[in-house]
Symmetry: C2
Subunit: 196 residues, 2 copies
Amino acid sequence: MANSLRKQEILEAAARLFRDRGYPATSMRHLAEEVQLKASSLYNHIGSKEEILKTICFDNARRFADGMTDVQANQELGAAGKIKALIRLHIQIATHDLTSVTAFNDEWRHLSEPHLSEFKKMRKNYENAFKDILTQGIEEGIFRSQNPTILLYSILSSFRWLYDWFKPERSIDSKQLEEEMTNLIMNGLLSNNPSE
Amino acid sequence: MANSLRKQEILEAAARLFRDRGYPATSMRHLAEEVQLKASSLYNHIGSKEEILKTICFDNARRFADGMTDVQANQELGAAGKIKALIRLHIQIATHDLTSVTAFNDEWRHLSEPHLSEFKKMRKNYENAFKDILTQGIEEGIFRSQNPTILLYSILSSFRWLYDWFKPERSIDSKQLEEEMTNLIMNGLLSNNPSE
DNA sequence: GTCTATATAAGGATAGAC
DNA sequence: GTCTATCCTTATATAGAC
């Protein structure tokens, strides 16, 4: 059996390459170079190129699914509180394992069947749960009455720059990030006090 | 010289494939099949695979640059009006030529030098102009005081689902889309009248 | 302007020596 | 567990017949 530490190193290098160049444009030879091996040696640690992609995609899908389950289970939270918790979830996941999340975000479409369908199902479940919270907030009159689908995708998309752009060394504090994104999503761009 | 109508057909098919599978995963053979030609025949109409990508990327970059120039030139608009005009610009471009914009949005990174650098420069210019408007609004007290970079990227990202998701047959009216996205970005999620 | 045939390079993955 | 050598497939692009 293969060295598990070495395997982790390969997975991380792959996530970085998948993020920077995309899955199809990343070759096994290039990946091998990154971890100072020959391409053939990689296969002592991983089964195939796609197996790496599967690991990255489903690990991250599970993180989001688990986060959503926690939010749903929290009886004390209203719709607004749940949305705030989900904003925190997205930022936490983004700052925790940036390269994996970035790769996961865009490269899942290169999964082959049946994994592709399974992944899409998990993604749809997450979106539906998110949309349910938005709809609930609209029905309760807490959220501005809007098309929940437009809301859902606009909000989910607004996180995407985090994955593309955020680097630890950019020195934006994750607490500040959370506060400002919550502010923007909940309260919008306009000031409440245009006179001051 | 090649038939220009045929060339347009090839460019559109390529844009669609680049959006669906990405640039590296799209082969000339597959593209040829889409327009019912053999791969070698494509080269009577286009110079290379990357030339197609260049066309898509720079055509769209120019659309955004021109739109920004118009907004900047409009003296009557304040910061809020300019942001609204830019929201309209993004939606108009997205609904006008969806596939091209999608390809442009993600696949520019596969450009080779010196085109890659040129493209990045145009993109940076656009972002800086957008950020200037946000900063202006904050200084005037019209916009909530926030980190302009976080604002900028959150807003720009929030448009991205349009390119991934929007299809004409989804029957969301583009006027409604504009209104609701403006609402969300300017006024946020929370209702002004939680009691009604 | 489209075809067949082909040049040339690079891809994922395996076999077998060490 | 890593290597060299290699298999097989696919990629972009060109040459030249029609």
